[in-house]
Symmetry: D4
Subunit: 250 residues, 8 copies
C-alpha cells in the first residue's frame, strides 16, 4: 500500500513529517469541483463498489461523476437513473461503453468489456408484478457484482403452492442467499424463511395503499417475523442485491 511508501520516504528523510501526513490525507481524496468527492478506494475497503444514486442529482453532476469513476476504476454503476440522466449519459459517454438495464433503471459505464468470473449464487423472488422493478434492481446489482442470479417473480402468499417448487429448485442449485421482495402485507419473506435453510434478505417494496401502504406494512411485517431473516430499507434493491452478493461470495 501507498502508505508504506510515504512512511519509508519519511524515515529516509526524503520528506518531512508534516509532508508525509499531508500526502496520506490527500491519497484517498479526489475532489470534483467542490461538489462531489469520489471515494475511489471504497471498493478495496468494503468489498463493494460505490453506486452513484441518480435520484436527486442534477443530470450534469450525475454524468460527470459516472464518467470520472468509470475512467478511474474501470466501471461505474448508476442506480435509480431517470430518463433524462440515461439519455445524457448515452450522449456524453465518449469512448466508454454503456450498459442499460431497463427494468431495473440501472446504468453502467465501462472502459472495456471486462469478463468478470462468476462467484456465488443468489436467488431473487418477488411477490407480485408490481414489486418487479425493485426485485430487478437487486438482481442486476448482484449480477454486476459477479454472481449468478436465479429469479422467480409473482410468487405470492395468496397462492402458497406457488412457492414450493421454486425453493426446491434453488436448493438443488446450491443457492447461497435469497433476496425476497414483497410489498403490501410483506408476508412472502417470512413464509419463505420458514421453509428453507438458505439465509433470506427481506426487501420491502413501496406498493400497497391505505394504512401501511408504501411499504410500511411490508417492512414492519418482516421486522416482526418469527421466521428468521434480515431486512433492508423499503425499495432498497441495490442494498439487498449488493449485500446478497457480499454474502454469497464469502
Amino acid at each position: 500500500m501507498e502508505i508504506d511508501e510515504v512512511l519509508n520516504q519519511f524515515k529516509n528523510d526524503k520528506i518531512s513529517k508534516k509532508q508525509a501526513k499531508e500526502r496520506i490525507a490527500l491519497l484517498q481524496l479526489e475532489e470534483l469541483e467542490d461538489e462531489a468527492r469520489i471515494d475511489t478506494m471504497r471498493e478495496d475497503r468494503i468489498g463493494l463498489p460505490e453506486a452513484i444514486l441518480g435520484e436527486g442529482k442534477k443530470t450534469e453532476t450525475f454524468v460527470k461523476i459516472m464518467k470520472k469513476m468509470a475512467k478511474r476504476k474501470g466501471r461505474s454503476i448508476g442506480t435509480r437513473v431517470n430518463k433524462e440522466q440515461k439519455q445524457q449519459l448515452q450522449k456524453n459517454k465518449g469512448q466508454l461503453e454503456m450498459e442499460w438495464h431497463e427494468k431495473a433503471n440501472i446504468a453502467v459505464l465501462k472502459t472495456e468489456k471486462t469478463k468478470q468470473k462468476e462467484e456465488g449464487k443468489v436467488g431473487v423472488i418477488c411477490a407480485g408484478t408490481a414489486d418487479l422493478p425493485i426485485a430487478e434492481e437487486a438482481k442486476v446489482t448482484a449480477e454486476l457484482l459477479g454472481c449468478k442470479v436465479y429469479n422467480a417473480y409473482d410468487v405470492g402468499v395468496a397462492g402458497i403452492h406457488r412457492i414450493l417448487p421454486v425453493l426446491k429448485k434453488y436448493n438443488e442449485e446450491n443457492i447461497q442467499v435469497l433476496v425476497v421482495a414483497a410489498g403490501r402485507d410483506g408476508s412472502l419473506p417470512p413464509v419463505v424463511a420458514g421453509m428453507t435453510d438458505i439465509p433470506v434478505i427481506g426487501l420491502p417494496v413501496s406498493t400497497g395503499y391505505g394504512a401501511g401502504g408504501n411499504g410500511e406494512a411490508a417492512l414492519l411485517s418482516m421486522l416482526q417475523s418469527c421466521s428468521l431473516l434480515t431486512v433492508v430499507n423499503i425499495d432498497a434493491g441495490f442494498t439487498a442485491g449488493a449485500m446478497a452478493a457480499k454474502i454469497a461470495k464469502t
Copy 2:
C-alpha cells in the same frame, strides 16, 4: 311491539300526543344512578348482546351493571374482567349463577341454566402461544352466542405445513367462518385466506416488540393482504367472536 300500544292509546285519545312521545322516549332507556344507561333492547335491535367491558370501569360500577343486566335479560357478559372484578362479582352475585372463563377473562351472570341451541359453526385459529388469551376471548364469545367453535392454536406461518391439516378438517366440518388471530408479523390470516373458501376475520394481537410491535405490524399486514379478509381492532377478541357468530348464524 310496545310502540304500537302507545300509538293505539294516542289514537284512542287515552293519552295526549305529548304524553305518547315521552313514553316512547322512556321506553328504551333505563337509568343507573346517573352513570350508566343500560341499552336493554340492543340485543333485539342488532342481534348481539351488549358486553360489559370490565377494563377501565370501577369494580362496584361493573358489578352493579352486570347484575342489573342479568336480572333484566337473563344473562350478562363481562369481558376483560380483572381479578378484583371477578372476585367481587362472585361475592355479590346473590342468587344469580356465574360462569368464569379463565383463559378468556370473561365472566357470565345468569338467572338460570338456560340450554341454548347450537347454531352455526365457527373456527378459531391462532399463530402462537402468546396470542392464546385473545383467541380464547373470541372463542368463548362465539360459544356464548350459540355457535359450535373449533379451535387450533399455535399454527404459525414459520411452519406453514402445520396449517393444511387444520383447514382440511374445517372444510369437512362445514365451518362457516374463521377467526384467525396473530400477533407480530400477522402473516397467518393472509396465508389462511389464500388457502380456503371459508370467510376469514383477521384478529391482530398486541404481541411483538420493537418497530411495529403491540399488534401494529399485524394489523397493517392484514389490511394490506392480497388475500381477501376483513379485520377487527388489535386484541378485539369479543368483536371478532361476536361478528363470527353473527355471520355463522345468518
Copy 3:
C-alpha cells in the same frame, strides 16, 4: 381432481414417483413470460376470482394478463384501471367482450355473455358524494360475483335522519350483509352497526384533509367502534365487495 389422475398413473406404474411429483407441482402454475404467474385455480380454492389490480402495473402487462385470464377462465376482472389501461384493453381485446364500469374504474373481459344466477343480497351505503367511487368499486364487485346489490349514497351522520328509512328498506329486502363506506370521521359505519342486525363491513375512504385525513381517522374510528363491525383497508372497495359476496352467498 387432476391429482387423483396423476396418483392413479403413479400407482399403475405409468409414471415414476419423481414424474408424478413434478406434474403435481406444475399443475397449478402457468407462467407468463417471467413476469406474472396466473393463479388459475384460485377461484376454485378460495371461492373468489383473482382481480387484476391495474394500479402500478404497466399497461401492456396489465392487458396481457387480463386477456390470458379471460381466455382461460371465461372472465377476468381489472380494478383501479386508469384511462390508458382502459383504452388499450378496448383496442386489444380481440374477440373478447369488454364491460366498463365508469364510476368504479372496473373493467371486465369475457368470452361470451354468460348469465350468472343471482345469489345473495348485499347493501352498499356511503356517507358522502366523495366516497362514491370506492362504494361503487364494492358494489360492482359484489354484482360481478353474482349478488343483487342495493345502494344508498350520501347518507351521512351529519343528518342522522337520512339513515333510518334506508335501513328499514334493507331489512324488508332481507339483505344479508352491508358494506358501509365513509371517509373523514368515519362515523357512519358505527352508527349503522348500532341500528341493525345485518352484519356490517366498514370501508374507510381516503377523503378528508389535515390531521387524520386520507382515511386514517375513518379507519381508526371503525376499529375503535363500540358497535360491532369488521373492517377492510382504506379504499379497499374490491375487498369489501368480494367479502360481502362471499358472506352473502354462504
Copy 4:
C-alpha cells in the same frame, strides 16, 4: 388601574422614568421561591382563573401554590389532583375552606363561602361510563366558573336512540353550549352536532385500545367531522369546561 397611578407619579416627577418602568414590570409578578410565579392578574386579563395542575407537581409545591393563590384571589382551583396531594392539602389548608370533587379529581381552596351568582347554562354529555371522570372534570369546572350545568352520561352512538330525548330537553332549557365527551371512536360529538343548533365542544377521552386507542381515534374523528364543532385536547376536561363557561357567559 395601577398603571395610571405610576404614570401620574412619573408625570408629577415623584418618580424617575426608570423607576416607573421598573414598577410596571414588577406590578404583575409575584415570585414564589424561585419555582413558580403566580399570574395573579390572569383572571382579569383573560376572564378565566388559572387552574393549578396537580399532575407532575411535587406535593409540597402544589400545596404552597394553592394556598398562596387562594389567599390572594379568594379561591384557587387544583385539577388532576392525586390522593397524596389531596390529603396534604386537607392537612395544611389552615383557615381556608376546601371543596373536594371526587369524580373529577378537582380540589378548591377558598377564604370563605362565597355565593357566586349563576350565569350561563352548559350541557355535558358523555358516551360511556369510562369517559365519566373527564366529563366530570369539565362539568365541575364550568360550575366553579358560575354556570348551571346539565349532564347526561353513557349516551353512546351504539344506541343512537338514547340521544334524542337528551337534546330535546337541553333545547327546552336554553342551554348555550354543549361539551360532548367520547373515547374510542369518538362518534358521539359529530352525531350530536348534526342534530342540534347549540354549539358543540368535542372532548376526546383516552379510552379505547389497539390502533387509535388512548383517544387518538376520538380526536381525529372530531377534527374530521362533517358536522361542525370545535375540539380540545384528549382528556382536557378543564379546558373544555372553562371554554364552555366563557362562551356561555358572553
Copy 5:
C-alpha cells in the same frame, strides 16, 4: 311544522299509520340522481347552512348540487372550489347570481340580492402571509353567515409587539369571538388566548416543512396550549368561521 300536519291527518283517519310514517321519512329527503341527497332542513336543525365542498367532487356534480340547493334555499355556498368548478358554475348558473371570493376560494349562488342583517362580531387574525387563504375562508364564511368580521393579518409571534394594538382595538369593538390562524409552530393562538378575554378558536394551517410541517406542529401546539382555546382541524377555515358565527350570534 309539517310533522304535525301528518299526525293530524293520521288522527283524523285521512291516512293510515303506515302512510304517515312513510311521509315523515320522505319529508326531509331529496334525492339527486342516486348520487347526492340534499339535507335541505339542516340549516333549520343545526343553525348553519351546509357548505358544498368542491374539493374531491366532479365538476358537474358540484355544479348540479350548488344550483339545486340555491334554488331551494335561496343561497348555496361552495368551499375549496377549484378553477374549473368556478368557471363551470359561472357558465351554467342560469338566472342565479354568483359571488366569487378569490382569496378564500368560496363561491356563492343566490336567487337574488338578499340583504342579510348583521349580527355578531368576529375577529380573524393570522400569523403569516402564507396562512392568508385559510384565514380568508374563515372570514368570508363568517360574513356569509351574517357577522361583521374584523381581520388583522401577518401578526406573528416572532414579533410579539404586533399583537397588542390589534387586541386593544378588538376589545374596543366588543368582538365576541376570535379565529386565530397559524401554520408552522402555531404559537400565535396560545399567545393571543393568554392576552385577551375574548374566546379563541385556533385554526392550524398546513404551512411549514420538515418535521411537524403541513400543520401538524401547529395543531399539536394549540391542543397542548396552557392558554385556553378550542381548535378545529388543519385548514378547516369553513368550520372555524361557521363556529365563530354560531357563537357570536347566540
Copy 6:
C-alpha cells in the same frame, strides 16, 4: 425420509390413499395439550433451532415446552427468560442439564454435555454499556449455534478512534460476519460498514429517550444508511445472532 416409507406402503397396497395422506399430515405435528405445537422438524428444515421466547408466556407453559423440546431434540433454547421462569426451569428440570446466561437472559436445557464443533466466526460490537444485554443475546445465540464469537463493547461513534483497532483485529481473525448493536442515534453500524469488507448486520437497541427513542432513530438510521448493511428488528438479539451464525456457517 419417512414420506417415502408411506408412499411405498401406499404403492404396495398396505394402506389406502386416504390413510397415506393422513399419516403424512400427522408426521410433522406434535400437539401439546391444545396450547403449543412443537415444530420438531424446523431445525432440519431451516437450519436453525426454534427458540422458545419466554416473554409473554406463562411460566408453566414455558417450562413445559422447554422440557419437551429438550427431550426430543437434545437441547432447547429459551430467550428473554424472566426471573420466575428461570427459577421454575431450574427447579423442574429433572435430569436435564441447564445453562444460564445471565447478561443475555438465555436459558438452555440439554440432555447431556454435547461437544459442538466450532464452525464460523462472528464478531459482535456494541456502541454503549446500555446496549450490552441485547448484544449479549446475539453473542450467546451465535455461540450456541456453534460459532466462535469475538466481542467488543462500548465502541461508540462519539469516539470514532475506538473502532479502528477493533476492526483491524477482526480482519486478522478472518471473521465472516459482524453484528453491530447500537441504540440512540444508531450511527455505529453505518460507520463500521463504511470501514470494512465484512458483511454487517445492524441490530438497533431500544435505548435513547425523547423523539426517536426506544430504538426508533437507531432503526431508521440503519435502514437509511449509505453504507451497506442489513437490519433486524429493535432488540432482536436472537435473530441477529442466529442469522449471523447461519451466514458464517455457509
Copy 7:
C-alpha cells in the same frame, strides 16, 4: 430611540397620554395592503434580518415585500425563491440591485453595493451531493450576515477518512461554529461532533427514501446523538446559517 422622543413629548404636555400610547404602537408597524406587515425593527431587536420565504407566497406579494423591505432597510433577503419569483424580481427590481445565488435559491435586493466587514468564521460540511442545495442555503445565509464561510461537501460517513483532513484545516482557521448537513441516516453530524471542539449545528436534509426518508431518520439521529450538538428543522438551511452567524459574531 424614538420611544424616548414620544415620552418626552408626553411629559412636556405636547401630546396626551392616549396619543403617546397610540404613537408607540404605530411606531413599529408598517402595513402592506392588508396582507403583510413588515417587522422593520426586527434586525435591531433580535440581531438577525427577517428573510422573506418565497415558498408558498404568490409572486407579486413576494416581489412587493422584497422591494419595500430593501428600500427601508437597505437590503432584503429572499429564500426558497422559485424560478417565476426570481424572474419577476429581476424584471421589477427598478433601481435596486439584485444578487442571485443559484445553488441556494436565495435572492438579495440592495439599494447599493455595501461593503460589509467580515466578522466570525463559519464552517459548512455536507454529507452527499444531494444535500448540497440546503448546505448552500446555510452557507450563503451566513455570508450575507457577514461571516467568512468555509465549506467542504460530500464528506460522508460511509468514508470516514474523508472527514479528518477537513476538521484539521477548520481548527487551524479558528472556525467558531460548524453547520453539518446530512440526509438519509444523518450520521455525519454526530461523528463530526465527536471529533472536534467546535460547536456543531446539525442540519437534517430531506433526502432518503422508504422508512425514515425525507429527513426523518436524519433528524432523529441528530436528536439522539451521544455526541453533543444542537439541531434545526429538516431543510432549514436559513435557520442553521443565521444561527451559526449569530454565534460566530458574539
Copy 8:
C-alpha cells in the same frame, strides 16, 4: 502530544513500525472489564467532559465508571442518577468528594475541591413548574462547565408579560446564550427568540398529555418556529447546558 513521542521513537529505530501503530491505537483506550471503555481524552478533543448517564445502567457498573473517571480526570459527572445509584455512590465514594444536585438528579465525584474560574454567562428560562427538573439539569451542567448561570422559572406564554423584565435583565448582564425549556405547546422558546438578540437553544420537555404530549408538540413547535433558534432532544437538559457552555466560552 504523545503521538510525536511515538513517531520520534519510530524514526530513531527505538520501536518498529508495527509497534508504533499499536501504541497509537492503545493510547486513547482504557478498557473496563469488557463492558465500558472510558474515553479519557474526550474532554481534550471535543471541549466537553463525558457525562455518565445513570439511566439504564446497573448501579454497580455506574459507580465503577464514575469512580474510575474521577480518579483519572479529577472529576466525573453523572446525570439522570436514580436514588439507588446516588446512595451506592455515596457509600462507595472512598476518598473522593461527592456533590449531589437534588433538583437536577446530577451527581459529581471529585478528587478535591477545585476552584474553577468562571467563564461565560448562560441564562436558563423555563415555562412552568413541571419543566423545572430538566431546566435544572441544564443549569447545573453549565455551572459545572464553568459558566455563571442566571435562571428564571415559570415564565410561560400564557402570561406573556412575565417575560419582558427577565429578558431586559439578561441583556444588562451580557448573557451570551439562553436555554429556554418548555413542555406542552413549547411556545416559550419561539416567543423569547423573537424578542432578544441573544442566541436561544430550545429545550423541549416531556410534559403535556394527549395528542402531542410527552414533549412531541414542544419539539415540533420549536423546529417549526419562524423565530430563529436551535433545538436539542426532548428532556436533553445535559446537552442543552453543555452546548450553551461551549458557545458561551468561545
